[in-house]
């Protein structure tokens, strides 16, 4: 168990100082650190690795003290036996793949180094790359090399800072499977930073959300990320619509409450939450959770049907972002096929259909 209770303040130019203030424990197995950029995720990993020194607090791994401000204990990175895969990977460009992997094994005999390199290279499918240099291998292979270099040292904690960014989904899944296999055998705490929702679901044991240097929530990925409770997290978790709202009334019998959006021009129903009537809240809705209808829909279970006008239509790869003004401004994600069959165009009258449970109350 890795226990952390640290605080570190950073001076910023003019603005209020950024404060990292984290109190958390990490059991063996995967924990996903999720949060918007600038939330302090990499800084937290740097503190755990000993690359940055917190102002106060403690870091323990089981009985061993890595850092204790009150007792003036600070173990250097060299003495923590932690493996860290950086976002940039930081492979040594002047060393071959084999020497990159061997770099952390300097204390072992050459025979033992060879044995371990061979074993890890086989496990991560890079045995054929050992004599190449980092510039000579592909992006996915680089990521495998970086993981192998980190894991070959048999670390007691593994820190992964977005190690799979930029890879396509199938490659990412394959590497994650290798990692899962490795994790099942070793049972050490693995902290995995990402802001990719798919990766969270693929790793999926436990997620800890970080925003503005503080832990927001912790739990199973679905529970934490499908109903984010802060605006920053809602945005990071892919909620395109975060709208200001005012609670109008509670309807406990139906399990809902009515809120007015933005400047009170439209009203919707959202699940009953911890907000008194009259209070100002925010409502987060995914762009993909909103339906569009070209005629006023009838006989639907969805409780929120709002008329509006299409402001703009923008194609983004395989999805189309439709901006609709319906009192409040909504971003709706549809497929190119839907745009064609509904013959959507700017200025057109349109109805938005939103299920009550697609609306999430955030702070």
């Amino acid at each position: 168990m890795l226990s952390i209770q640290i605080r570190k303040q950073f001076a910023t130019n003019g603005a209020a100082p950024f404060v990292l203030d984290v109190n958390a424990s990490f059991a063996p197995g995967f924990t996903v650190l999720f949060g918007p950029s600038g939330a302090g995720k990499s800084t937290l990993l740097d503190c755990i690795a000993g690359l940055q020194k917190p102002d106060s607090g403690e870091i323990h791994l089981d009985e061993e003290v890595f850092f204790d401000a009150s007792r003036r204990v600070f173990l250097t990175p060299q003495r923590r036996a932690i493996a860290y895969v950086f976002q940039s990977l930081a492979l040594f460009p002047h060393l071959s793949v084999e020497h990159n992997i061997r770099y952390g094994l300097a204390r072992l005999s050459v025979a033992e180094q060879r044995r371990r390199v061979e074993a890890i290279a086989a496990a991560f499918h890079i045995a054929n790359l050992l004599q190449r240099f980092p510039v000579e291998v592909s992006g996915g292979e680089k990521q495998r090399v970086a993981l192998a270099r980190a894991l070959v040292t048999q670390p007691r904690v593994l820190l992964l800072d977005e190690p799979l960014t930029g890879l396509d989904a199938s490659l990412r899944r394959a590497i994650l499977e290798d990692l899962h296999g490795w994790s099942a055998a070793k049972r050490i705490p693995i902290l995995y930073v990402t802001h990719n929702r798919e990766e969270v679901d693929a790793i999926g044991e436990h997620v800890l959300t970080l925003a503005n240097g503080r832990v927001q929530e912790s739990g199973a990925p679905r529970a934490v990320l499908d109903a984010p409770r802060s605006v920053e997290l809602a945005q990071a978790a892919g909620f395109e619509n975060v709208l200001r709202a005012k609670v109008l009334e509670h309807r406990p019998a139906d399990g809902v409450m009515r809120v007015s959006l933005e400047n009170a021009v439209c009203e919707i129903e959202i699940p009953l939450g911890e907000a008194e009537p009259g209070s100002e809240v925010r409502v987060a809705i995914r762009g993909g959770d909103i339906l569009l209808a070209t005629e006023a829909p009838h006989f639907l279970s969805a409780r929120n049907i709002l008329p509006g006008t299409i402001e703009s239509i923008e194609t983004r790869g395989v999805l189309v972002a439709v901006r609709v003004q319906a009192g409040a401004s909504f971003l709706v994600h549809v497929t190119p096929g839907a745009v064609r069959s509904l013959e959507l165009a700017s200025g057109q009258l349109i109805w938005l259909v939103i299920k009550t449970h697609s609306c999430h109350l955030v702070r």
Binding site: D46, A49, G50, L51, T76, P77, Q78, A81, I82, A83, Y84, F86, S88, A90, L91, F92, P93, H94, Y103, G104, A106, R107, R149, T153
Partner: protein
């Protein structure tokens, strides 16, 4: 043409540029990788020879190396003979004179290294020495080569400092630039021409080698 002054200059330049590398690496490390309050003072001191007239530098070197100067007294006590107007004296003065040319390119190349590589080295268990020799130095070698060649070329071309602390003793302190000056003074234009042309060619070859290897040679102190 008398080859002695040229050979003397080459010997001086080679000795100085090699000694300077030994001094420059730890200095550059301190400037690039550590943070402390008085760092700008060290930067200024190292850069001073860039802006000081060589005669000023030579004058203070002469005072320090003279029989009543601290360096001169120390030298006399250690080796039993004076330091001023000797080859060793020339070396000492040239070390100061060419120091910025040895330090600045190395600092620039150290600072352009990806810090995450150093972090990776530390996390993988390597101490500072191992990180320096296995990661920093191999990746910063263009800067080190630039420093070596620039300090060599700069020492080869020095005049004012040599004149002040070395005088003009054939075979001991009579460097190629002094030799050219002497020949012009005595109206031996043909002799001056030969030596000057040779020096011009050497300097051109040296500099084109550096520029060919590394484009950012004359970088000032990098912004932080």
């Amino acid at each position: 043409m008398n080859a002695d002054p040229l050979l003397l200059s080459l010997r001086l330049s080679a000795t100085v540029s090699l000694l300077l590398q030994v001094m420059a690496l730890p200095l550059a490390y301190a400037l690039a990788f550590t943070r402390w309050r008085g760092k700008f003072l060290l930067e200024s001191v190292i850069a001073l020879p860039l802006v000081l007239p060589p005669t000023v530098l030579g004058f203070y070197s002469l005072l320090a190396m003279g029989p009543r100067g601290p360096l001169g007294k120390l030298w006399q006590a250690l080796f039993g003979h004076p330091l001023a107007f000797t080859f060793a004296g020339l070396i000492v003065a040239s070390l100061v004179y060419s120091l910025p040319f040895a330090v600045q390119p190395v600092v620039a190349s150290f600072e352009s290294l990806d810090r995450r590589l150093l972090d990776a080295s530390a996390v993988l268990g390597a101490g500072r020495m191992r990180t320096f020799f296995r990661v920093i130095l191999p990746l910063a070698w263009p800067g080190v080569l630039t420093a070596l060649v620039l300090s060599f070329a700069h020492t080869l071309g020095e005049f004012g400092v040599v004149l002040m602390v070395g005088g003009n003793l054939p075979g001991i302190t009579r460097t190629v630039s002094i030799d050219i000056y002497d020949r012009v003074q005595s109206l031996d234009y043909a002799g001056a021409q030969q030596t000057a042309l040779l020096l011009l060619l050497i300097c051109f070859v040296v500099l084109s080698t550096v520029y060919g290897v590394n484009r950012r040679v004359w970088s000032p102190w990098p912004a932080r």
